[in-house]
Amino acid sequence: MNSLPFNIDSIRAQFPILHQQVNGHRLAFLDNAASSQRPDAVIDAVSHYYRNDHANVHRGVHHLSHRATDAYEGAREKVRAFINARSIREIVFTSGTTESINLLASSLGQTMQAGDEVIVSRMEHHSNIVPWKLLAERIGIVIKVAPINQQGELVLDELAKLFSEKTKLLAIAHVSNALGTINPVADIVALAKQHDVPVLLDGAQAVPHSKVDVQAIDCDFYAFSSHKMCGPTGIGVLYARESLLENMPLFMGGGEMVISVSFEKTIYNDLPYRFEAGTPPIAQAIGLGAAIDYLEDIGMDNIAAYEHQLLELATTALSDIDGLRIIGTAAEKAAVVSFVFDDIHPHDLGTVLDHQGVAIRTGHHCANPVMDFFGVPGTVRASLAFYNDAEDIEQLVKALHVAVGMFR
């Protein structure tokens, strides 16, 4: 590898979970697209909060409630700055990307009618398909699907043809979880703007790996999860352009999202709180804030550059294995390598790799339409993070040779 933008050994030292034996082998954790690991900084922030600062937010007059509220709202500001939103009014905390998309579908669905259209792509995760399918079943909206090519890239010319007078939303992945394809989101948004169609980007796989600037992309909605970017599980974000969010029908009802309630009249809270019913995931938000600090300290550009080097190393090493076929060869890729052998089932590979301490994901990766397109039941997916190193990739390659020897 070329000169590294940071000291990988000191990075790895900050992730306690990496330093263990699995099945008698060094752990090579290559399942980061499913969920990343946590550095000490995040674990300690959550622990510190529970040990010192916990109380419910936004409602107590007592000291701890103020401290918890400050920390929670501080995390919202960190998220805002991290993705360069204009205002914290545009940052809605959810339970994760899936809930972010469901929130949007539930809310926008109340403004849609039978025959209205939502455009998605063939490479979507199920979480950006099923919420729209539910709307199709409930109110009869029509889902239009933008095709992909054999490299796993979106076919932009075909996408352009899908817009109509009835298109209410374009909902598309920023980065494909199954293939690693990075979509040209700024171009896609510009295309949608020509048709006056708002755009939701599923950024679950993008935010952990490169700098995302929602104003530069100019998207209207952007969804992502904390647990894929070194933060806690159970929290995610829906960024929504304020001018749209202001007029969107509500999602869930409860405390926090109201200012006053009587049986005659309910006054709803301001943005973004009116979309956050109930006690929010406070510790998780604080952990997410710590994760953002941690990532920014390393530098998202450094992370992207390093992961790109790892991707090239992995792609070259895997391509040398006899019979291995990489699924997803887009020109612009995040550090995900999905692959198959025609004569060895992904699950058998997964079990043999696990036996050698290599954690990878096998199966359809919640993207059945992608698997159908490539005519495979599933793939083996190695997804890399900035705390992986060349030794992880060597271990993967070595374990694959063992598996190939076993099954052939």
Binding site: P346, H347, D348, T351, V352, M371, P377, G378, M406, F407
Partner: protein, 146 residues
């Protein structure tokens, strides 16, 4: 690795009784929707309940394939009750810690699968599909209990 014994690998590379059975009196499809594995079991059952022929078409991992292959070997000429008892024996071997009443070789070579909880359904799918076919039904999935 305990789970990929020589016998298991041999059956997965060259499965026995593979393919359709044109004269099948009973057949059922079994799916594992989580991984896409699919087993079709074809049976010729005489009026007295004897399996006079059994074949399978399996698309899946080595464990699923070898389990289906060994199953097809084992159930040829069995009667309904004996085949059903064998299904239960195999199921117990794959899912229960109690030693029970092992089904003998080569089926016992699948025993190692029990140590891999995420893979147990790969081995049980052919048997679940067999039971489904014998009961005169045509479809089952690993996400419903047989």
């Amino acid at each position: 690795m305990q789970v990929y014994q020589k016998t298991v690998l041999e059956h997965s590379r060259k499965p026995h009784h593979f393919g359709q059975l044109a004269t099948a009196t009973h057949s059922a499809e079994g799916f594992n929707p989580l991984c896409g594995d699919k087993v079709t079991v074809y049976l010729n059952m005489s009026s007295n309940g004897t399996i006079s022929a059994a074949r399978h078409e399996t698309s899946g991992c080595a464990i699923c394939m070898s389990s289906a292959s060994m199953m097809a070997d084992a159930i040829q000429a069995l009667n309904f009750e004996t085949a059903k008892a064998l299904c239960l024996q195999v199921n117990t071997m794959l899912t229960s810690d109690s030693s029970g009443n092992p089904p003998g070789m080569p089926l016992q070579s699948l025993e190692g699968v029990r140590a891999f909880p995420s893979r147990v359904k790969c081995a049980t799918l052919p048997w679940q599909t067999l039971l489904t076919a014998m009961m005169g039904e045509t479809l089952t999935t690993t996400e419903q209990e047989a």
